[in-house]
Symmetry: C2
Subunit: 157 residues, 2 copies
């Protein structure tokens, strides 16, 4: 990916500004960052950056297709630069850590509901909930069990 941030911004019709470059830089280093994290990190190179500016920048980036917003339940929105590929997320219930998961099928949407109830579906969003390595209780007994498949509510394989 040798296209610069500047090129990418211009390609989608956005002006090249310091706040935007700062935010892109932060997102490149820290995928799945929330607004607060972005503001804090971006201030390393742009000390006067305001939170509202970051909201504006992110809105523009998402609208321009340069960034994607994800909103795990009960947490502030997160942003990532991985766009255009169909991937999903693992979210830690304890610490909120997020990891990418490639969709095993490839094309979006990777799932097709059996009955759409009259809806025209354009996206299937998948979130895997669990515990990350650090938050997992007990000694790291590395079992192969990956998806707890109980027959009541929640998970399904």
């Amino acid at each position: 990916m040798e296209t610069t941030w500047q090129d990418q911004l211009r390609t989608v019709g956005l002006r090249v500004t310091r706040p935007r470059l700062s935010v892109l830089q932060v997102l490149a280093e820290r995928p799945h960052a929330d607004v607060d994290t972005i503001v804090t990190a971006a201030r390393a190179v742009h000390p006067t950056l305001s939170p509202q500016a970051v909201y504006g920048v992110l809105e523009a980036l998402v609208a321009g297709g340069l960034a994607r917003r994800i909103e795990p339940a009960g947490a502030p929105a997160l942003f990532e630069l991985r766009v255009g590929d169909n991937h999903h997320h693992l979210v830690c219930r304890s610490c909120g850590a997020v990891a990418d998961v490639d969709c095993t099928v490839g094309a979006a949407p990777c799932l097709t509901p059996s009955d759409t109830a009259g809806f025209v579906v354009d996206e299937a969003e998948v979130v895997f909930w669990g515990l990350c390595r650090e938050c997992r209780p007990g000694p790291p007994a590395v079992t192969a069990q990956v998806l707890q498949n109980d027959n009541r509510g929640g998970a399904h394989a």
Copy 2:
């Protein structure tokens, strides 16, 4: 469905109260209701019910496994009584309408992440985004027989 709300509440160790019965009643009639809707509707039978009480009731119901909370991105939380079965949701991008979707039988490749990045996954959450029948830009003429005589472009916000 001969188990009464009272029985269900007692079964999970919750006291039987008027606010709880009211909320259960509302949820039975209106699946996928948000807190505001529940408060308004429940006041028909319990006029002094406070929003905070509803928050408390819902928290207790969810903790007791009698209700489930869903949080579509960009919308207040919704609650439903369908628990224990594995189903997902269709959400309308335009009006926010929600419909249940039974989990696709058989092939659900995306529900087993290929690489869990060290996470222990306990739930896979799926949300299908699209447009509901009312919000869909006009289907090819009036050829839809499934659709009863509704005023197209229906007022639904």
